[in-house]
């Protein structure tokens, strides 16, 4: 796998070269060139904002096809807790989990359960003094990548514990391998994902060499089929696939991870642009009284993931009901992380300075000077017609050698009118002598 695998990709035929995606991208990773959008791979954090805003559905998240399941002897589904918010009250968690078996899985292991283990480890970690506060959740891979490319000072604040998805994959594999005596490489674990960022974190992990997850399926792709399969399962169906308590289920929505920590010294932020605002406050030491920050790229958290089907606010109501039910069962405290050492990241994250104008600081300064000069000459409308998100980003693209001043339609107009003037002047000089 290359360093820059991305789940978010462009379907060129569908792209009309409008300015919606370039305007919304939180890392300014998209440009429109020659009438089509292009993604700057180094900058993309797979947040999926562009998937949401593209009116032509030209941006999509690449997930795995169901056929990858056939490579494994024993197949396990790992549904993100977000899945529980995708259905109304007639669909209990038991029905949903049993329904998943209908896709050919041999077992289902709830990621929500792993989330409770991660929460327990987090509770222990924030009590210790040797971590940088506020500790920032690493559950959302888009947010982790954002930190990697834009907030180097916050790398040390990141919770260096594997995500619930990875923990779930590991436990599920281990359990089956031991119980059924099947070699690990014959066991396939498949994450049912609300987003592109999770796909990327499986294909190109930042926290370790290789992911435990064998494949990632889109929540959107299974939605209708799952509904059909659930119809044949009685409403009061009971099964032992349920293993998570209310806290784990709650992780799907914004505030869920904070809730599970049982501390008032926590903050939950959602929506990538809001996350950026909060991170700026942390960088400047302006966020006090907080030990833990839950930061989720999508509005309403994973319930608003780009691969979900249901409106996130509706999903939140659905989830509330599921949480209420989980409370009745009272599982929460079973899922603890007695020893979290083996859940720690095995690779440290490196800062990727994508915004840097040049490796040499002196050269970068000269480029910056030039950038400011060019920017001063641009109209300041941020219209996006040049294909860069703002006038300033066009100036930046020009000093990087990736664009021309005449990509700005106003500059082009000036130039054309200058040329016309010059031609008029020439016409005067070369005017053929008329007889009179």
């Amino acid at each position: 796998m290359t360093n820059y695998f991305h789940s978010v990709t462009l379907e060129e035929e569908k792209c009309r070269g409008c300015t919606n995606c370039i305007k919304h991208c939180p890392t300014e990773a998209i440009r429109v060139r020659k009438g089509k959008a292009t993604i700057i791979k180094e900058r993309c954090i797979d947040c999926g904002e562009c998937i949401r805003v593209c009116p032509y559905h030209a941006k999509k998240a690449v997930t795995d096809p169901f056929s990858v399941m056939s490579e494994y002897h024993f197949k396990i589904a790992l549904p993100a807790p977000t899945l529980y918010g995708q259905f109304g009250q007639e669909f209990s968690r038991e029905r949903i989990l049993r329904g998943l078996l209908g896709f050919g899985f041999d077992w289902v292991f709830e990621v929500a359960r792993a989330a409770e283990i991660v929460s327990d480890a987090t509770r222990q970690i924030i009590k210790t003094d040797n971590v940088k506060k506020p500790v920032i959740s690493s559950a959302c891979p888009a947010v982790v990548r954002l930190i990697q490319v834009r907030f180097p000072n916050l790398i040390k604040n990141l919770l260096k514990i594997e995500s619930p998805m990875e923990v779930a994959a590991r436990i599920a594999k281990h359990t089956i391998s031991k119980e059924k005596n099947i070699p690990s490489n014959k066991i396939g674990v498949f994450f049912i994902s609300p987003c592109a960022a999770k796909v990327t974190s499986v294909k190109a992990p930042y926290e370790k060499k290789e992911s435990f997850v064998s494949g990632v399926f889109s929540m959107k792709d299974i939605h209708i089929k799952l509904l059909e399969k659930m119809k044949n399962i009685p409403q009061d169906y009971d099964c032992d696939l349920v293993s998570s308590g209310a806290y784990g289920v709650g992780w799907a929505g914004s505030g869920g991870e904070c809730n599970a920590l049982e501390t008032s010294r926590s903050l939950a932020v959602h929506g990538i642009h809001n996350v950026i605002d909060i991170f700026e406050e942390i960088v400047e030491d302006r966020l006090n009284d907080v030990d833990f920050v839950e930061a989720l790229s999508c509005t309403e958290g994973c319930l608003g993931g780009p691969l979900t089907v249901v409106n996130p606010f509706v999903a939140r109501t659905n989830l509330k009901w599921q949480i209420g039910n989980a409370k009745k069962n009272g599982f929460s405290y079973e899922n603890t992380a007695a020893d979290y050492q083996d859940l720690l990241w095995t690779k440290d994250m490196e800062y990727k300075p994508i915004l840097k104008l040049d490796d040499n600081m002196m050269k970068a300064m000269m480029k910056m000077q030039k950038l400011e000069e060019i920017n001063d000459g641009l109209p300041g409308l941020d219209c996006g017609a040049c294909g860069s998100p703002r006038c300033r980003s066009l100036a930046e693209d020009i000093v990087r050698g990736l664009a021309f001043e005449t990509d700005c339609i106003f500059k082009l107009r000036e130039k054309v009118s200058d040329l016309a003037d010059q031609m008029k002047a020439l016409e005067h000089i070369y005017k053929p002598k008329t007889e009179d």
Partner: protein, 141 residues
């Protein structure tokens, strides 16, 4: 030696929603230059505090930032009420901010000492009824 990059920012009076805009802009600029993240952090904290003081105490003013080959110079000034006893103002915890501002989470009296701690050179000049001028120098290496 003259500076390579020069920027000027207006700091409006009493508008907390805009306080921090200048320092945030400077942070982005330094990131694009590839300045060491720790130095960026020191710069933006120092500048933010100076900016905030102009908003809260100084009735608005300006910030001038100059970047040289080897250092950043920040000059933040206002024509507000000024500071009567500079030594006292520098003391950690000393603040004349009214309760209303403290309720918003500002005015802990740590600003000036924070600026001093984060800068390599720090000069504070002030005259009652004339205004306040803060000079901050931070070396790039």
């Amino acid at each position: 030696m003259s500076s390579i990059i020069k920027k000027e920012y207006d700091i409006p009076a009493n508008d907390f929603s805009l306080a921090g805009e200048a320092s945030s802009n400077v942070r982005k600029l330094l990131t694009q230059l590839g300045v060491n993240p720790t130095i960026i952090k020191r710069t933006s904290i120092a500048m933010y505090e100076a900016e905030l003081n102009v908003v809260i105490h100084g009735n608005g003013g300006k910030a001038r930032v100059e970047i040289f080959e080897d250092k950043i110079e920040i000059f933040v000034f206002d024509e507000g009420p000024g500071i009567e006893d500079i030594e006292l103002a520098m003391k950690e915890g000393y603040s004349t901010a009214p309760d209303s501002i403290r309720e918003m989470g500002f005015g802990a009296g740590m600003g000036l000492s924070n600026i001093k701690r984060n800068s390599d050179k720090f000069v504070l000049e002030s005259e009652p009824n004339k205004g306040t001028r803060v000079y901050i120098t931070i070396y790039l290496y």
